[in-house]
């Protein structure tokens, strides 16, 4: 431990430990837990995507399911109707999502904060309405499509697929926010005009992060629907789904990448652990109330709680210095 002097080194070490634990895990737990982890990891990927766009910049997205849904529907339609192989349809889906991401980018040139959140929400509601009305024969309408091809089958292969994607995306985004780009994004969140005045091309930077976020959402969304094997408007363009992503990010700690991952794991398992004891709707009441209390007590999330905890430990153990 003493070799790890800088926060960066300690962080990388933590990622390594996380990776090793996650690789070994499926051999220690039952299939049920493994399956829950797959869902937790997909939620984490979506949370990362949200965090990149909104965690630091103040451009709060209430329409992330819109982006995820574009990715999901693109690959679903291409494979289901045109029988494209997944190796072509998934990259196409990612590309389409990035094009969809520009729909978020243009409003972001003019408006921010609450207004931006509402435009993105309107996008989600709009596409929810349209998917059901326009060409229901192609999209499957309200019922959606079932029997989509899968990339790999079974709990364990899907676990490792999701893990690889999560680790690569999570780690690289985590590194990214440690560069001057991350600092600039935080600065945008505080005072965009000042950042612009300091000579940084804010528009370019925003476009870059929006595209990165859309890339993550598109890839995650495409893999997710092939894991589910089905797609339906209510599963994607839904306030409930948005709610899970938001709560995972904010409960975990927005703007930190690792926080949202922790949040996603925490939420998924909270619900699954409650299931055998409280199978009915009380489960969601408890889960919601718990999330609300935690969030109101600490709006900076689990990440902050853990950081404070470590800091306190650091104070108790004089050998280590708190960051």
């Amino acid at each position: 431990m003493s070799a790890l002097k800088t926060p960066l080194q300690r962080g990388i070490a933590a990622w390594l430990v996380f990776a090793i634990v996650m690789v070994v895990l499926p051999h220690l737990v039952g299939t049920g837990v493994t399956r829950s982890f797959v869902f937790a990891m997909y939620l984490a990927i979506f949370a990362i995507s949200w965090d990149v766009m909104s965690g630091r910049t103040g451009y709060i997205s209430f329409g992330h399911p819109f982006l995820i849904g574009i990715g999901g529907y693109t690959t679903a339609l291409l494979t289901y109707h045109l029988h494209w192989p997944l190796y072509f349809s998934i990259p196409t889906a990612v590309l389409m999502t990035m094009i969809g991401g520009t729909l978020f980018f243009f409003p972001a040139l003019r408006i921010r904060g609450t207004y931006f959140a509402l435009v993105t929400l309107a996008f989600m509601e709009l596409i929810y309405g349209l998917v059901q009305v326009i060409a229901p024969k192609v999209t499957g309408g309200t019922r959606g499509l079932s029997g989509l091809d899968s990339l790999v089958t079974g709990a364990i292969p899907n676990y490792y697929l999701a893990l690889v994607v999560l680790l690569i995306l999570g780690f690289s985004m985590w590194l990214l926010i440690r560069t001057h780009i991350g600092t600039a994004l935080s600065a945008i969140g505080m005072d965009e005009d000042a950042v612009r005045a300091s000579g940084i091309n804010v528009t370019k930077l925003k476009l870059f992060t929006f595209m990165l976020s859309a890339f993550t959402a598109g890839l995650g969304g495409a893999l997710y629907v092939h894991y589910l094997g089905s797609i339906a408007p209510r599963a994607l363009f839904d306030v409930g789904f948005l709610f899970q992503i938001l709560v995972a990010c904010l409960l975990g700690g927005a703007g930190t990448i690792t926080g949202p991952i922790a949040g996603a794991f925490f939420l998924t398992f909270l619900l699954e652990w409650l299931r055998p004891y409280i199978p009915g709707s009380e489960r969601f009441l408890i889960y919601g109330t718990f999330a609300l209390i935690l969030y109101v007590m600490q709006p900076n999330g689990l990440h902050e709680l853990i950081r404070l905890g470590i800091k306190r430990l650091g104070l108790l153990a004089p050998g280590r210095r708190a960051s």
């Binding site: 709060i60 509601e125 938001l246 709560v247 969601f284 009441l285 919601g288 609300l292 709006p299």
Partner: protein
């Protein structure tokens, strides 16, 4: 033609009633109360419990619902919003979580099955060749009365002027001796009771169900966006634009595009005039 005009007007008045409580909080506190739909739902369920289960007369049940709405509004402010004050995003997220929690609680207590309710005032009103139910007509009239009352209250009373001062410039208001705490509590109470009353009308007009908080929230958000922050008059005009647009879309173009039209107008207004058509910085 009369039909569209009458129905559009009545629906617009009803939408104004739904939106006004939401506008008020947005104007004074600059926060979106995403739990606003829960005020309506709560109002509807309490009225149902009073008038249809316990068998109380309709008017006292409505008053009970309004009082309960005011209390709930104050509690939300005290317990959630005040704690997170200064962090607009945190308030929005916390109220959104609250809305979902309230929904879960309602499912648990009242079951997720929808319930229809007796109209507050039964019967059909015929104006020329147009017909509207008394129920929604009364809702529109209530809306005009409440909005007029609110307008007078803000324009003429001491407390009303304090609300206006806070909505213009919170810091300046404090300097001039206004207690912003009092103003906030009052606006949340008014918002809660207006929401609950709107909820009773919404529920008697459509039905009670645990998802009923979403539609009024979207209507309120649309009205605020189109009307702009801080303008009760703007909200009134915006409610009429949206209400008429919906009625015209439903009767003349295609009924299934009702929601789509509203979403398109939100996006258009936000892009063209982000502050809304009548946005200004005061009430």
């Amino acid at each position: 033609m009369t039909q569209i005009l009458v129905q559009g007007l009545v629906l617009s008045g009803f939408y104004a009633l739904i939106a006004v409580g939401f506008t008020l909080i947005f104007s004074v506190g600059r926060v979106l109360n995403l739990a606003y739909g829960s005020f309506l739902m709560l109002g509807g369920y309490i009225y149902y419990q009073g008038a249809q289960v316990a068998g109380l007369p309709k008017f006292p049940s409505l008053i009970i619902a309004a009082i309960a709405g005011a209390v709930f509004g104050m509690l939300v402010y005290r317990i959630l919003v005040k704690r997170l004050s200064g962090n607009v995003v945190a308030v929005e997220i916390a109220t959104l979580i609250l809305a979902v929690v309230v929904q879960a609680a309602v499912i648990l207590i009242f079951s997720p099955s929808p319930k229809s309710m007796w109209p507050l005032v039964p019967g059909v009103l015929r104006i020329g060749d147009a017909s509207v139910t008394y129920n929604i007509f009364i809702a529109a009239v209530t809306s005009w009365v409440l909005l007029g009352g609110l307008f007078l209250f803000i324009g003429t009373t001491h407390m009303g002027r304090a609300i206006r001062a806070v909505s213009m410039d919170p810091k300046g208001a404090v300097i001039s001796g206004i207690d912003p705490e009092k103003v906030n509590i009052l606006t949340w109470a008014i918002s809660g009771s207006f929401g609950a009353i709107a909820g009773v009308f919404l529920a008697t007009y459509t039905q009670l169900d645990p998802n009923m908080w979403v539609t009024p929230l979207i209507i309120a958000v649309a009205v605020v966006i189109v009307g702009g922050i801080g303008s009760i008059l703007g909200s009134l005009v915006a409610a009429h634009i949206i209400g008429m647009l919906e009625t015209i879309t439903t009767s003349l173009i295609a009924a299934e595009l009702r929601g789509v039209a509203t979403m398109l107008i939100i996006i258009a207004v936000l892009l063209v005039a982000p502050r809304g058509l009548f946005g200004k910085s005061e009430l």
